[in-house]
Amino acid sequence: MTVTVQLNDYFSRYGAQSGKVSLPDGATVADLLSYLKVPPSEVGFVIKTGQVLKETDKLDDGDNLLILPFAMGG
């Protein structure tokens, strides 16, 4: 399946880029993050149509996903 990923600028430090990603059918959010080589501890939210997904959630072909860090502060 293919999903479209939009990564926040924060993740440019890991060399990960926004765009289309091909994954095996049944892949989860955790699989996607490992494919993107983004440390899961740095990922605040993976969002699909306004909903925050869990790491164990399965992805569907054609998903549009927004990947964001945590909001930070002191």
């Binding site: 926040n8 600028d9 605040g44 939210f45 869990k54 927004l66 964001l68 909001a71 930070m72 502060g73």
Partner: protein
């Protein structure tokens, strides 16, 4: 004091211009910063007198790591807050900690009231009371420029100063420190103003006694690498905290238009990315910090007809973009910078100002206020009118702005509209409408700041909400922060300064503290703050949450008011039990 076993306290009385120094062995176990400043406040405050009475003290304290280890840059100020009437604590960096250290002090206690506008010039060998009549009425920038020229020693001194809002005793006036940093929140600027204290310039040449230089230097190198060569802090340098705008917007947590919304249609236009691409001109640092998280943006201002423009630069961060941006519906980055500039010039706290104006805008919309009171038609997104209103607050132009300048708690008592006043624990809301832990955290925090216990962090990282866990988290986090802000480190470096690192750093400067010593001082400080609040008549049981907080979705959907009140009750009960245990053990 470094290399000694006491805390060196400078006492300054502005009324009779008397100065003394004492060496306090009994405070040494509290390290410095919050630990020492809260104890000195408790000793010197007058619970029977109002916050702006001349006998109320201002305390400053640095810590054992200040300046000599990376990112240990902050000075802690404690005072009685004119905004809340109870415990006030605020932190600022810049050059302040270095200057106090070089002047040879660990803490400074200022009492009394000068008989004319005055600024203090403090060095390692003198304290001078200088005539500030010519500075009274000047803005923050002009005041800084004149004192810089008069005092000399560029780069090595720190200048703390107030603007007209502090002179006029606005309850949320702040103190500017070295242009880009501030003692914000809770109204230290008004306490300066009540003492006719326009500014403090401080510098010195005192040697820093490090007994075992080899051990110190190797620990310093190790820590420096941890700061600059790991991922722990670089995020604060890159886009910095303004990265939050897009994140909070995406998870329905960005307070917008007085929290009538938690997403903003112009979020992309005022995002950290947009600020960086369109306005960022430099990044600067507090002295002793290799990070450089202070982002300075530039905007241009028309000052006359005929295309006469000047370019101005101000620092921005998440809290400013939230309070003067999304909360006021400000649609562009350059307009946010314009509002920041007005707040800077007048010396107001940006968050309280933005929250107060957002409330006034909605109150005007709802006909609770009239245009005769607000003087200009305040409307979300109308930057020009907000610019005028900022000056009306600072100058206390009419009865309405005089009352608004007392803070939203007072304003809603006078005019109503409490249900949409964004106030937690008497302090105007910080920029994270993330959920229960933030709302409870700001309410119960010792200084009613999101920085007391970082509830916003729990709301984001929790897999599911657990009330017991929220209460545990907030108490544990606040105690640990009592220790960190006694060292005194910048809280952006809290992941660098884990326990092992803190102990290693203290040992390297011949302060053989143990883990248990740190636990003890953290707990003592946590309860000292609580005791001060009680002595000032504050009670957590009386806290109420703004109705608006329950009407607008958070990252966890809409919060339930009943659950929130239950959480507060749980917190109060836990605190009582902990306090009893602590008191019995003493």
């Amino acid at each position: 004091m470094l290399g000694k076993d006491y805390i060196r306290v400078l006492h300054i009385n502005l009324t009779d211009e008397k100065v003394s120094v004492e060496e306090r062995k009994d405070l040494f176990h509290l390290l410095g910063g919050t630990g020492v400043a809260s104890k000195l406040l408790e000793e010197n405050m007058r619970p029977d007198l109002p916050p702006l009475h001349e006998d109320q003290p201002i305390i400053f304290a640095i810590g054992p790591l200040s300046t000599i280890f990376p990112v240990a840059t902050k000075t802690v100020a404690t005072f009685i807050s004119p905004l809340t009437g109870e415990y006030g604590e605020s932190h600022a960096g810049g050059r302040s900690a270095m200057a106090i250290r070089n002047a040879g002090y660990d803490a400074i206690v200022i009492t009394g009231r000068a008989n004319k506008p005055t600024y203090l010039s403090i060095t390692d060998h003198s304290v001078e009371f200088k005539d500030a009549r010519g500075l009274w009425g000047l803005d923050v920038e002009e005041t800084g420029r004149i004192i810089r020229e008069r005092e000399g020693i560029p780069g090595k001194r720190s200048i703390m100063r107030i603007g007209v809002s502090g002179e006029n005793l606005v309850s949320f006036a702040g103190v500017n420190v070295d242009t880009y940093r501030h003692f914000g929140r809770l109204g230290l600027g008004a306490v300066f103003g009540s003492k006719q204290l326009k500014a403090i310039a401080i510098t010195g040449e005192t040697d820093i006694p490090v007994t075992d230089f080899k051990s110190y230097y190797s620990t310093f190198r190790w820590l420096y690498k941890k700061v600059v060569e790991t991922d722990l802090m670089s995020k604060y340098h890159e886009i910095g905290t303004p990265i939050n705008i897009k994140v909070l917007n995406a998870i329905s947590s960005l307070p917008t238009k007085n929290l009538q919304q938690s997403t903003f249609e112009h979020a992309d236009d005022i995002s950290g990315e947009t600020f960086a691409q369109d306005t960022l001109v430099r990044k600067v640092s507090c002295v002793g910090c290799p990070i450089g998280c202070i982002h300075v943006g530039q905007f241009r201002r028309l000052f006359d007809k005929g295309y006469e423009y000047e370019s101005l630069a101000v620092s921005y961060d998440h809290e400013l973009i939230y309070s003067l941006g999304s909360l006021l519906g400000t649609p562009t980055a350059s307009e946010v910078l314009e509002l920041i500039d007005e707040v800077e010039e007048t010396g107001l706290d940006a968050m309280s100002t933005g929250v107060a104006l957002a409330w006034a805008t909605e109150a005007l919309e709802k006909d609770i206020l009239s245009i005769e009171q607000t003087l200009v038609p305040l409307a979300f997104g109308n930057t020009e009118n907000y610019k005028k209103a900022i000056h009306y607050i600072a100058e206390r132009t009419n009865d309405f702005y005089r009352t608004l300048g007392e803070g939203l708690t007072h304003a809603t008592e006078a005019y109503g509209g409490k249900e949409f006043a964004l106030v937690y624990g008497g302090n105007e809301m910080a920029g994270y409408h993330t959920g229960y832990a933030f709302a409870l955290g700001q309410t119960v925090g010792g200084r009613h700041s999101h920085l007391c216990n970082a509830g916003y962090q729990y709301d984001q990282s929790a897999k599911e909400l657990n009330d017991e866990e929220i209460v545990d988290y907030l108490i544990k986090e606040e105690k640990e922060r009592c220790m960190l802000t006694s060292l005194v480190i910048c809280l952006f470096a809290r992941k660098v300064y884990d326990r092992e690192t803190v102990l290693k750093a203290l040992n390297a400067i011949d302060m053989p503290f143990t883990d248990e010593d740190l636990d003890k001082m953290a707990e003592e400080t946590f309860f000292t703050r609580l005791r001060i609040k009680q002595k000032l008549g504050y009670s957590l049981e009386n806290e109420k949450f703004p109705k608006r907080a329950f009407e607008t979705p958070t990252r966890w959907g809409k919060m339930d008011e009943e659950r929130m009140n239950k959480l507060l009750h749980m917190y109060v009960e836990r605190l009582k039990a902990e306090y009893d245990r602590y008191s019995t053990a003493q």
